[in-house]
Symmetry: D2
């Protein structure tokens, strides 16, 4: 697949994700972390226009000069921007305008990609592909939040069903003590935060080959896990109290029975399914209650060849920090990862929302420990 | 015009107001005071369904039982409701669904109104008409806020123009000291807060026959009015400082020139036009700077026959309090006015957004002193 | 009593109020409205130093130039100041330093007052006396808050007891409809907000000769008054919910019995005592539940000769607004009253904390409707 | 030194720290992180009474049963407590009462410690010693905050002077790549968070033998370091903007010259002195500007034999996480360290406020990345 085909394939997929939406669903931002779908569609387009077309295509005519202000996310280098919490206050540009913007930029990009492209520019374009894939995952999780927190519980896809039969035995595999190598190695795309490849020393540990499922988590709930501070970090306990948390996101106790909002609407909770939509605080508390712990990201990376992964992003015990020798690129691209390396937790694996071929064993995802709207789950270590 | 025709006329006007909107414009709630237009369209419909159709039409089939939760505003009597600040987080019901809801309820209403209706029920329906008219005014001011705070400054109507030539001479008319009667008298519709008609004693005062215009207010700005605490209430001064206020809402200083967002988009400020979109705090400060004051609502009501009014809601010095003998109706309808009679200021007159025949000389509008998104202006007294 | 003697008498009384305090009690500010007692002692002294000594005594040597910053309250005219919520964060100046400051200023003042003083200067000094008396009342109510919200419930005076036998019959006296005169008349001290004396028209009303007592208010509580939104203003109801209010301030339900923090410590609730420490919201809700209402400040002023008043500040239905012809003095003194005339309610009468000879029938006290730490009570009108 | 002597020595030192204070200085809590000195004195006493005397001394008579509520800090196991932000609102117990409390508990403790004590109980008492030493450091830093944020800038000790001549050459020492051992080893006191001793793999690195001094940090300021987002984490940049940060805590720019609040009062900034009172965000930004980085806590621990440390707590790049095999003790003592292991940064070394013999090379201090009131400094790695 050549670069232009690759580009087109990725761009089309973003639009496919949004196909089932009503126009209104593109607009709202119920919490700061959840951006309006139309914003994602515009922002990913702005990325290609700003970093590829404007600097490289002579005479390129910007689609609309105001869009830089509207669709910039956090790039301080590229000028002022709508503050993040205001994205849901903008009714314009309309959804139709944004699709026109996409078509306009796509046409220019496909034309541009017809010529031979190499070196740094190719790397930058490939970063744009991966950037759009990250927003594809956010589109899916943000749409779930928008529909799943609506009192009418509208479905995204009536026929949607997650396969709960794909499941490993709940065995533990033991990894021996020793020096291991961590981080990306190879010539394909990878993020700067996966480098440098470096050595770490691991003690012996045993890691589960299966993710925690809903049945196991219900035991924690029924055992009073949300009422006993002993299992929690101090700030996790504050979070439980302040927000009156008593179950994973999207779980509803109705007339004594547990229901779960899924993309097909509100359904009876499937107990065999891998647990999802829990915060790091809950992951930690559950593990404490079990007398176990979460893996570090290093343990996970070394052990990952022994189990299937990919249904859920897996909270690790590791904080998101630079690897030895990490250095960020100059300019706007350098704002990609490094500046978030404080007060976040690493997640490893991939989720059902992650685009195919986007993740890999060295991939480092990261979120604040209180967030639950991603498909986040638990793997135990003892 | 019979009741059914009156109903239809009023209902159509709400939809006419929204006709120029894009679907996206119906959805957003940029500040708590500004509700999404689709919410207004649903809420006014819910009013007729809840208070007229459900109690009075045998076998009436509710359109959707969830709508009570979605479209109730502040009626504690009628059950739970979406909290006010969450209205802009709901992408559903869609705009199309709400228009279906309107058509469904309209059909049932028109059928119901074909029979002879009298007494309390007629009063209730007439209240529903006036309720919808109040939301028509809010539709207009909320649409202005939604478009006028968008960085693209989209127009609502490219040909819209406010006539700045209709203007009285800036004369003062003097009203003699004495006992006057205040409040509604007659048999037509009026709100409970306009009763009882009662006597007040007024001292002699002179009131301007014209509203303050933009040129006069610019003098206040240029004289440093926003920098001198002496003109302001203590809490008005805090409001100026906290919110960095330096001009009326919708005014923009661009390259040294003043612009104003209007329904036709961003335009050079028309200095002859009556000032609008100022808070009570600003009205008070401007009057102090002039060495004058605002009228009380009683002075206004007595003097109103001496001038044209209706372009702007006029801030008065009066707090919104019950008239002697005021008593609120029982049940949900009683929640209409009385429970807001604390910490608000009375406005008199009407604005360009007020539906025809909705206001009258005894009409009492009320808002918190910091609010500016209504078409609010100033009339001076000395 | 000459001016110097009057000065000394008033100044000594402030210190007498503080005599039972531990040093620590002078320092804390548990809520923004409650200032540290040492701040009151310093601020009232600063008033005389700033407005009397510095402009009028040649060669007067300021005690400490930093004190202007520390003890200014809200006078924008006189320069920067410690923000109000930071008063409790200042351990210095120490209590001993502030008593030295008082002695220093008192010596200079007594010396200064030995000469004949007249006209505006005498008025200003008399204003200083009344200013200090207002802070004496605040000293008492702030001390009650500081001790009464301490988990150890320390007593201020073990022998303190409020006389609950002084109580009128609960009769209603009827005032006839007509034109009445309101506002201060005479040559003695009065605040600017009591002027101009002016005519008002009152409808006939009947007003209770007694204040509501604790027994009556308990009936309201037991009747579910705090659980029924119908009795409350919308913002009163929000206040109840947000702050989980279920009884007057200082009331505690312990093992099924009601207790009340008094200056003698925590005591069994005296049911015969006049109700105290309630907000305007609660006063309004109680009156609504009774099917009655609160008096306006004008009704109160006209009816006051028919009952004893002075145990409690009485919430009125009136908002705090300027009288006809009100104008504020120029300079810092003009910041005294006028700039607070928005969003506050008028209280009439006086409380057990009010210094003797400080209040009068035309006196207008004012507070925000949610505040309860003053000795506030209820008189009903029907 | 036997246990009773050791106890007495440590307890006396807390009181020695407070000796220069005025009573008022013991009371205030200007920010949530800074507790009133009297609270520290009471809380450390409560620790011995609650965990040693009450469970182990038959017939022990509690000093005051209300003190558990007042002096518990964060131990959920031991019951309710005054919320942390309310400590500065309590004027009682008085300072004198707290010294009586200390004397009462000290007498009982010394008597109790006269008998032979071993095993877990000895460990617990030693934990109490270290606990009190930690609060001694907080007493010093909290007193500095209380006095240093007072507009009068009172001195704690007029003769106090920090020696700026004790300073290494600014050389870098290089540590070779390899497997190293980290964590406490031995039989003396240590915290649970220093265990298990475990192996880590370190890459080669060069670490400065000197701390950054004020002159070097001034260069960063003068180079616009606080105005360039490139050097900062995204949340560090938000912190700078939100709090208008432009220099280390206690630095004041007066008439063009830099001053520094020290325990001797406000003084001209000593440029040779080791930089202090900066947040992790500032430490990171400074290192970025230098083209260097902060050490990890593992690098620091291995390299520490090559330099003198102890003047400043040194921010590391490491997040505060459990070591392999870490497990917390059961009961209240188990709440000591583990529950804070999220969203905090590790500091290594010791400061001029740290009691002698309290720190060690494996000691792990931890704070949130925005805090500056500790004596925190920077050591660079390249």
């Amino acid at each position: 697949m050549n670069l232009a085909e690759h580009y087109t394939q990725i761009r089309k997929y973003s639009e496919k994700i949004c196909a089932p939406l009503a126009t209104e669903d593109y607009v709202v931002q119920p919490i700061a972390d959840v951006s309006p779908p139309k914003w994602h569609l515009g922002h990913t387009t702005w990325f290609f226009e700003t970093f590829v077309l404007k600097p490289n295509v002579t005479g390129y005519q910007e689609f609309d000069e105001n869009y830089n202000y509207v669709f910039n996310s956090y790039y301080e280098t590229v000028g002022n921007r709508v503050i993040r919490t205001d994205r849901g206050n903008l009714s314009r540009p309309s959804v139709a305008d944004i699709y026109k913007y996409r078509a306009y930029v796509d046409e220019a990009m496909v034309k541009f990609l017809a010529q031979p492209i190499d070196g740094e520019l190719k790397e930058l374009i490939t970063l744009g592909f991966n950037h759009e894939q990250q927003h594809q995952e956010l589109l899916i999780t943000d749409i779930k939040y928008i529909l799943g927190n609506n009192p009418l519980f509208p479905a995204y896809d009536d026929h949607w069903k997650e396969d709960s039969s794909i499941r490993n035995e709940n065995d533990f595999v033991t990894i021996e003590e020793g020096v291991y190598e961590i981080g990306y190695q190879g010539d394909d795309f990878h993020f700067d935060n996966e480098l440098n490849r470096h050595k770490v020393y691991l003690n012996e540990f045993s890691i589960s080959t299966a993710l925690v499922n809903n049945a196991e988590y219900l035991e924690f709930i029924n055992a009073g896990g949300y009422q006993n501070f002993n299992y929690w970090h101090a700030e996790g306990w504050d979070w439980v109290k302040t927000n009156s948390i008593s179950a994973p996101m999207y779980w509803h106790l109705i007339d004594g029975g547990w229901f779960n909002y899924t993309f097909a609407g509100l359904k009876v909770l499937d107990k065999n399914l891998a647990l999802s939509h829990i915060s790091y605080y809950e992951a930690y508390a559950f593990a404490s209650w079990k007398g176990m712990r979460l893996p570090t990201e290093f343990e996970w990376e070394i052990a990952a060849e022994h189990f299937n992964w990919g249904q859920r992003w897996e909270w690790t015990e590791s904080a998101y920090l630079p690897y030895p020798g990490f250095s960020k690129a100059p300019g706007a691209i350098g704002e990609y990862n490094g500046k978030f390396m404080v007060n976040q937790k690493v997640l490893r694996g991939a989720s059902i929302a992650t685009p195919e071929n986007h993740s890999r064993v060295t991939y480092r995802n990261f979120f604040h420990p209180n967030l639950r709207w991603q498909f986040t789950g638990i793997r135990l270590v003892k």
